[in-house]
Symmetry: C2
Subunit: 256 residues, 2 copies
Amino acid sequence: MATGRAHRPATRSRGIPEATVARLPLYLRALTALSERSVPTVSSEELAAAAGVNSAKLRKDFSYLGSYGTRGVGYDVEYLVYQISRELGLTQDWPVVIVGIGNLGAALANYGGFASRGFRVAALIDADPSMAGKPVAGIPVQHTDELEKIIQDDGVSIGVIATPAGAAQQVCDRLVAAGVTSILNFAPTVLNVPEGVDVRKVDLSIELQILAFHEQRKAGEEAAGDAGAVPPVAARKQQPSTDQGPDGDVPAVMPA
Amino acid sequence: MATGRAHRPATRSRGIPEATVARLPLYLRALTALSERSVPTVSSEELAAAAGVNSAKLRKDFSYLGSYGTRGVGYDVEYLVYQISRELGLTQDWPVVIVGIGNLGAALANYGGFASRGFRVAALIDADPSMAGKPVAGIPVQHTDELEKIIQDDGVSIGVIATPAGAAQQVCDRLVAAGVTSILNFAPTVLNVPEGVDVRKVDLSIELQILAFHEQRKAGEEAAGDAGAVPPVAARKQQPSTDQGPDGDVPAVMPA
């Protein structure tokens, strides 16, 4: 499939573990914040703390990129931003379609975090004919009938599904048949896709479950404190805070 | 702070690594799917594949729960559902408030995945007076002036912030002052909270970045295939699919 994008040798990306790939966006976000403050260099410890990752893991991750930093100086912020962006493919333009323009689809269309990372909302698609032509986030909604044409005309390879569960598999099948090979699924259902198509499924309740675990622990510590066993403040200080999670391995999204 | 919830001894939850906590919701989701299909037992390999986690890691994780399975039989599905739900605190009722009822807040209010995990949307709060009383997902929106009263009356400890970035810190400060100790932040900004308050920040673009990495790799393999170096189909088969990520350590959310 000719997509018109700049291709890089396949061998470059081989050998980077999936868990490292999943951490690269966390490093990138922390580095971008440093870059915006014009910080020229950063130590592995500082960057690890900012990204919520263990510093030994960070150094190991960066070794896959061939980036080792300079002893006593640290890592060059701008160069790392470039290196990670390139590794993730964010130096390219990625046209994305969002299918299902209810509240969630509209929220995603308005989400500022996509454009700043090279993701361009190429089209908004909805099955409701009364939505057609209506602008959302400045983009006129198009009817599902146009789906195949939009995908092909714009060389779209990434689709976001924000439809109700019942419509998601059919939309997925049409996206894949039209040439989409990566799907971000917000619909509460499991999608079946052929080999070669990547699906990531978002489950927003997973994060709440992790917060509930910590809430429960805090409540338990307070109960212990009330009973005089452990002073509540001391108990809180012992508790590892999720503000600085040990290694950032915190999935809200699982492979579908 | 007396919340009226059943407290469990603080020591129970100690010693479970943060990365294990983050995987428990993934196991729970896979187990719930098995339970719905009335599957009585599951092997560590099957469950690991369903949850997108390495099976050795799964066995290690379950050992923290004191759950070792039965050789040749596997794990009892119903008992594991109960055990993980209890460990995560999901057997309790968690009232949650959502602040900021734009498209995203409305989408979250309508999200079915919260209620099924013990999270009850106790209130929807918005700063726009014209929203007050308007029902969203069957719940009338309340004005921000009521925030403190709602939190205190309902014993809310978890707040979801879906406001624009500019309003998020102020909302966060008010939630914390009123007694909220866990915050799920959808606003594109970093929140400062006092010690003892957990914040998790959602960045929806992180998942797209991981998909872009794989897209780029697929494009590179196809380019190599086109040049006759590697047949595209064979290249695809060699590629580890994110459908079955090696260990599920895939963060869309990072500690804030």
